[in-house]
Symmetry: C2
Subunit: 432 residues, 2 copies
């Protein structure tokens, strides 16, 4: 899998290095091409140049295709992993109509790919139409330009890529519910992940039958959206640089959108450079947690975060088992979540340390940039273009690790044979 | 236990509020008295006034007694917990010479207290003598002043309290190996914790026989001291505000001392306000991890950090069991470590968010102050006295939670009956 993504990045870098990829004279240098190819394939959205004016139509098309390939690739692979691993998920039976067995046939894989592609293109098409109509009717854009912008933003939103065509991302639409909410819906649908959406469509009336995957994903998503919106209102309500000048309805809309975007679409509807320090920290937390497990979002994933919260709750209550909706989650599964969260914290801490050593930026903006890259979010306080080349290479590595790391880890950890060897005598230590 | 510490804080606050506690006219206001009583009982060392000039001799004696009471209290309680919990630790047999049983007799408790007190006062006495001689001979202090300063710094160092009598903490002794290394030894011995020191004294020749507690504590302590020193050299080597002006030997001494102090003594030998941002982050990490489990250090403890590292390693290798030195650590024990680390991260994140909302300080110094209070370290970039009253109350809460929280959690989690109920069907989720 890591190989497929590396090949996509290499092809993208080559294409973006062509003279026809840029709008002006000359060509993009290698680091610029590599940076934006990685950012597109890893659906991150960090940029050092303005997408709408630096790249030509050809360059923008390459970026859009890389986003679509990266998004479809990760969703397909993660869904296949879910099918292989699920004991009860119902995905095997429902998705590939086959008895319980570890092996996937080529026909199974084709069926999953077909459904993922249909789902992706279907949502993108509807979103593109809504956005295109709004761009044409609300902003007096010529029809072709409105349609192009609609498609671009729809693909970018559903794949949680966060690339936009305007230099200010979505800031000019901050008070426009048609555009903001449509993009939010696309972001959330893509970020929930295919298996969860598939299960929700069929069983939304019977939450008691939901799998552990769907239950945790839905609960954590709702908590983060509601809690994030409220904390945004508290932290930024009186800030003249962000929510301050807006009316009541627009404030609520903007706070909700600002809580959706870190998980992990990466469009910005507000000026992040004007955020309060506590809002940057809140956004760091939302970005690090990220979105659903088998979707286009990044981060350690809401399932990892949610499962750890269930473990903590069980530990504090003194329950020997961790139970999610009348199901017991095995301890091996808990340990996977722990491993993914700890490695994520470790990568972010080391990268922040290195980036601080490479640059003179303050700690808050560096941490924000590192978390944004690792969680493939693409939000920035505006320093990306000013990061020195070594730092940009570090961001490229972070985007790549952040995109393929957790899934590789989860599959490697999960698919492994767990035969029990001769057991050693048991001994505990004191902790805390 | 929480009650005993609260009583000590209340008594200390009352005593420090007396007019005779301050050197100048008037008296300390309630918040100042509460802050410093908490800082002393919780062996933190954060101060808003200069200990050597603001408090009278009486006030300094109160602070010293509160430090000693807080340090002895936590070490005794944690050692008793270790005795109760240890299955193999050898502590029962060696410390209280009794068969394996959950109950502790009054005689057992007295024996543990006596040994902890002897250990503490013994180390403090030797350290006080060495420091006193050096203050008298190397710095021309009168004998009485040198002796007082020696005792004060010895008690403060062994109990990882970090209170000093000089306004610059230990910065004037940065190149003095007699003082720096003596204090480092006291800090490390107090921070290892009594059970580990007890086992090391008896079995230092046979590492294979060490308990899991001692093995993890020693390994992580060595790794953090060596790694911390090297990273300090890398990050601060060329900084004219810190290591820059020192010679080679003094640079190494200063880097080592600077790596010892965040875990969690809190003296500073260098000007923290002049640290590079990456050094602040490194210090944050060292502070958060803290020291040994049944000693005077704070933080989540090296055992918690080390056990999680072992869990991660086992997970990445695919081992079903977590093995430390030919012993298997039960999954309940792993889950305790996870709970303590996650709650620590949660407390620090929430407190940082609140402190950012209360003040205008930048993110790096606020995070540093919060971690320093939670981990009862006492290092500061210098903002403590400028934090508004609500923020100082938050720091008081953090010191208190940081001091009694992890141990309460560990004992509560560990002593609890873990009867297994009817088991639900098992189901896993995808993470990452
Ligand atoms: K993104
Ligand atoms: K301290």
């Amino acid at each position: 899998m890591a190989g497929a993504f590396a090949v996509a990045v290499a092809v993208g870098t080559a294409l973006l290095s062509l003279p026809i990829a840029v709008a002006g004279p000359g060509r993009a240098d290698l680091l610029t091409a590599l940076f934006h190819a990685t950012s597109a394939v890893c659906v991150t959205g960090l940029v050092t140049v303005d997408t709408g004016t630096y790249w030509s139509g050809f360059g923008q098309a390459v970026i859009l295709l890389l986003i679509q390939a990266g998004g479809l690739g990760i969703m397909t692979l993660a869904t296949l992993l879910a099918v292989v691993l699920s004991r009860r998920l119902g995905l095997r039976a429902r998705l590939i109509a086959q008895a319980e067995t570890k092996a996937l046939s080529a026909a199974d894989v084709r069926r999953v790919i077909r459904r993922v592609v249909l789902f992706s293109l279907g949502v993108e098409a509807v979103v593109a139409v809504v956005l295109g109509i709004r761009f044409a009717t609300g902003y007096d854009q010529p029809l072709s330009s409105a349609a192009y912008s609609g498609v671009f933003h729809a693909v970018s939103a559903f794949n949680n890529a966060g690339f936009g065509l305007n230099a200010d991302s979505l800031m000019q639409y901050v008070a426009d519910p048609w555009i903001s909410l449509t993009i939010c819906v696309a972001v959330i649908l893509g970020g929930l992940g295919f298996p969860v959406v598939f299960e929700l469509v069929r069983e939304w009336r019977t939450p008691k039958s939901w799998s552990v995957l769907t239950r945790i994903t839905v609960i954590v998503t709702v908590v983060l959206l509601v809690g994030g919106t409220l904390l945004f209102l508290v932290a930024e309500g009186g800030n003249p640089g962000t929510l301050g000048p807006l009316g009541a309805g627009a404030t609520l809309l903007a706070a909700f959108t600002a809580a959706v975007m870190p998980r992990t679409a990466g469009f910005n509807n507000l000026d992040i450079a004007a955020y309060q320090p506590e809002t940057l920290l809140l956004t760091d937390a939302l970005m690090f947690i990220g979105g659903g497990s088998a979707g286009t979002a990044g981060g350690i994933k809401v399932t990892t975060f949610g499962l750890l919260a269930y473990v903590l709750w069980a530990e504090m209550r003194g329950d020997p088992d961790v139970e999610v909706g009348r199901r017991r989650v095995p301890s091996t599964n808990q340990r996977q979540a722990l491993a993914i969260a700890l490695l994520g914290i470790g990568v972010v801490a080391v990268a922040t340390f290195v980036m601080e050593a490479l640059t003179d930026f303050s700690f808050d903006v560096v941490l924000f940039e590192v978390v944004s890259a690792f969680s493939t979010v693409g939000l920035s306080t505006g320093i990306t273009a000013d990061v020195p080349p070594a730092g940009q290479v570090l961001l490229v590595l972070l985007m790549y690790i952040g995109r393929i790391g957790p899934l590789t880890l989860a599959s490697g950890l999960a698919l492994r044979d767990r035969g029990r060897r001769h057991q050693l005598p048991e001994e505990r230590t004191i902790v805390g």
